[in-house]
Amino acid sequence: MKDKKLKKVDLIFECNDCKPVEVLEKTLKRDQDEIILDIIDSGLKGRGGAGFPTGLKWKFTKNEDSAIKYVICNADEGEPGTFKDREILSRVPEKIFVGMAICGYAIGAKEGFLYLRGEYNFLLKDLNATLDKFNAQVKDLGLDFTISIKSGSGAYICGEESALFESMEGKRGEPRNKPPYPTVAGYNSKPTVINNVETLAYVTMICRLGAQQFKDMGTNDSRGSKVFSVSGDTPIAGIYELELGMTVQEFVNEFGDGDTKAVQVGGASGSCVPRKNFADTIIGFEGIPTGGSMMIFNSSRSMYNVLHDYLEFFAEESCGQCSPCRIGCQQLLKGIEAVKRKERNPQYLEDLKKLAATMKLASKCGLGQSVANPFTSIVDNFKEEIIY
């Protein structure tokens, strides 16, 4: 499959005869377990970054014995380089709401929430108007399910699911210990399905087109298509829905400016792929997974500045709850600054890499655990730029 062409897809934003509510009406006539089996069969994995199989998440939550359950759409999109959820929210919000309602029906939840990052408050007016209409339509269809919107207030960590629940409960956005997982004890300690904006929009399309059409795209590990946010040194920055399974090389051929030196796949918490690895790195769950952020750097860019930016980001956004992450982020940042200023010798970078590896093991949540991804991949591949 070496010369497989990069394939553009149009499922998420496609809106020719856009009546997502009709998909809901059709799906409500089906058996709950059958719907969940369909989602499992489609191979859909979470589009928020972690990539957990969506259907399984729903099944676990359905199996919980609880009168109260919740569906939450994670619209906290804060990973640097990601902006696709905003576009989905502003162009096809009904697809998201239908995905949530289908989930509510399938798992037996009566309430849904969309957690919208404060930076997207300008979307609130339109979203609430769409939602008022939508909630009434759901009622007319005889489904007892209501969606409302909760706002964030400028904290990247609240995109982490358990921190998001804490925030909705009026607390500091500090991630919880896991287990218990949200499927057992999420918002208000009740069984909760939390899915990314894009995941829920795909649910609607899978219910409309059938699992097979989705499954036919992509690879064994990464089924279907995905919306990518492309930025940096590219003449065509923007949002693109692409079939999964491409290599970084194929991606760069399409989006690069002819002088691409590195691609950061998966945002600040993702990994940096240098030119020499473009050809054999697959973008997807079998290679480097991404919530959609693809930042392209050409040879005019200093990778020291890139890493410095990311570390500053983590040092600011760490919730500070656990010491490996709180102190580690700051020390990594101070560490590369010291090497740059020649106050430390280059060998010190090896110590910093050990610190990053410790953070991966000892941090409480995904934030602290993933700092090693950009750190190690940039330091290993662009050592000269870090030192000199």
Partner: protein
Amino acid sequence: MTVKELVNELVEKHGTTHNSLMPVLQGVVQQERYLSEEAMLTIAEALDISAAEVYGTASFYTFLDTVPRGKNVIRVCKTISCHMQGKDEIIQALEDALKIKVGETTDNKRFTLLTANCLGWCHKGPVMLVNDEVYPELTPQKAVEIIQEYERNTK
């Protein structure tokens, strides 16, 4: 409207459970641009929780300021994609126009200039928020014109 009246109105709308705390805090910031000690004490009383808990939550969130801010809060995105597209020039132009540095508020209390992490417009940077409104694809001149427009419309 006094802060007390504002809090009471918000509590009326959002309820008195712990889950109401965020919307109430957000509602106060929407009006006042920050949370004063009086506001936090009033909220604590209305929700029957400790003032420390209210402050604990408020102080966690970047957008829930606990120090006075100007009528208009400007947040310029500083993350890498906007960095590469010239956010430094935008900040410089705003600093010059407002005669303040990042983190400061103008003497007439009309503007506070801040930076923010990724605002989600990497393909259309540089970008800034003024209160809840978003302004992508900025040039230094455009940024200053936008601020002048706010200046004209602020009483």
